[in-house]
Symmetry: C2
Subunit: 317 residues, 2 copies
């Protein structure tokens, strides 16, 4: 199958047609309308088979996840998703696989009002690189570097389920079929917290998405902001699957496992109420799990007693 036919057939007939896309797929470049009233947020992520998702992951899940990881980065900046470019390298041009993959891609693009504006299809071992772009309000984007001592540390929804699914897939643990299906869905179809990110805009002092693991990503905030943090481990929001299947080990998995794509963010005492009100207008659940301090390290407590816990986030290489 010809590269050109592939691209034309699957990527040119998408549902989302944004007014700010003056020229979409099909020429040497896409042309986008630029605007004084906005800035542009850009993020790039590569997913490699066997590294970022298990080899037997469904094509639809791979499609979903390829877009989701980049939209999650946009969410962490408080950006509104707008455009994405998708480069696929794959061993063979299997039509059924591409069809399922595209279903995963376009379902999420449609949900997030993202138009695919470019792509490349090449032959080789399976990997996908997405560059996603979003719109931010000038001077209102959220960085990793604004956390201040005294700020409260929050996380969205539950953490650790994606890690639990990987443990099940790797045979480290055996879940009931119902639990396995539930956490597998969290691993395969993570929900980028797009509306939460926008709700946090103007209220929080810093944010990051948890792709590498809670501790690893908290460390990124601390390093960028030149602060430390205390995490109250007993406050971590864990699903019933995590608590029931891992018991005492649940916390260690929750803080170290990556792939949750929840948002981790900090807010000053002053902005706490306005943030709560803003987040209350979305369907997102958030939990305060600790506080930023003047130290240069992350410390942990369990039921208000200091405790040590292994820290190692997910790192490539």
């Amino acid at each position: 199958m010809k590269e050109f036919d592939l691209i034309k057939r699957y990527f040119s007939e998408q549902v989302v047609k944004r007014k700010d896309v003056l020229l979409g797929i099909g020429d040497d470049c896409a042309i986008l309308k630029s605007n004084d009233a906005q800035n542009i947020a850009v993020t790039t992520d590569t997913l490699v088979a066997g590294v970022h998702f298990p080899h037997n992951t469904s094509a639809k899940a791979i499609g979903h996840k390829s877009i989701a990881v980049s939209l999650s980065d946009l969410a962490a900046m408080g950006a509104e998703p707008a455009w994405a470019s998708l480069a696929i390298t794959m061993p063979t041009a299997d039509e059924a696989w591409i069809n399922d993959f595209c279903e995963g891609v376009f379902e999420l693009c449609e949900y997030a009002n993202v138009q695919l504006i470019g792509g490349d299809t090449t032959q080789g071992p399976l990997s996908i690189t997405v560059t996603a772009q979003g719109l931010t309000i000038p001077e209102k984007h959220i960085t990793r570097s604004g956390a201040k001592p005294g700020d409260w540390l929050y996380v969205s929804a539950d953490i650790g389920d994606a890690g639990l699914a990987l443990m099940h897939i790797n045979g480290d643990i055996t879940l009931t079929p119902e639990s396995a299906a539930k956490v597998q869905r969290k691993l395969d179809f993570p929900k980028p917290r797009i509306l939460l990110g926008q709700a946090l805009r103007g209220h929080v002092s810093s944010a990051i998405d948890i792709s590498d693991g809670l501790f690893a990503d908290l460390q990124h905030i601390c390093t960028a902001s030149n602060v430390g943090a205390t995490v109250e481990l007993d406050k971590l929001p864990l699903s019933d699957e995590m608590k029931n299947s891992l018991g005492d080990k649940a916390i260690e998995v929750a803080v170290n496992a990556g792939d949750d794509y929840e948002l981790l963010f900090t807010v000053s005492q002053t902005n706490k109420v306005s943030m709560d009100t803003s987040v209350g207008q979305t369907t997102n659940r958030i939990t305060c799990i600790g506080q930023i301090n003047h130290s240069n390290k992350i410390t942990t407590t369990l039921n208000q007693e200091p405790i040590n816990i292994t820290m190692n986030g997910f790192q490539h290489f």
Copy 2:
């Protein structure tokens, strides 16, 4: 070596610092200043080892080419290059290789005033995906779809040298060491025709860069513009290396081989003089090689006699 260290060390300390990059590498996203007075051109290309460059290509050449193919797409739209995101997947984090690769990347970025605004480093078989963005003047970007019957067909510089280098590498032909070095340089370090693209803006009716081969890319223009073309094969600009080493076969190689990254474009009789004047202010050499017509196919002549020639551009899969 850690992904984070790699990225920090090589990509955060670049020379180009653009004023429109409000936040560069290091957060979840880069933040770019947007502007009413410009539009944004975006292009994505993946290079896979063994497909888009021979396995023994030098790291510096791979770095250069990764950026060059995308800047060539920007050039074909008449865009001014601005920002690039670079995703590398590589088997091992070899410091010397990365150093040479980055030298190739940053030399070209510096020349073109492109700031690297994002990246991802993952482990796997070698491939590189670049998304490059450029700025265009609203309504002045050049597409593939504006060619009109009667327009003249032009190409920049010489074509076929990259194909000749590949033939030499594959052992299909033996060149003198001097000739081999010269065409190898054209293959490894293609020059995106950035200033030519901008000079053509407002004068030409369509443009494309020759990455798939002259005929394949001319076919893209013809399809997008719903026209046909006649190419005068005796007018094709060929290097001495092409003429001396391939003789009668030179034309066939020149029209089919890809990787030249020259610009192919069309101009109306009315705009010919203004285009010549505009191009004359650059150092680019352009050659008229034919004319657009009402048919729906590409025909060829040699010394004004109709002639048939095999047409097959480079296509992945």
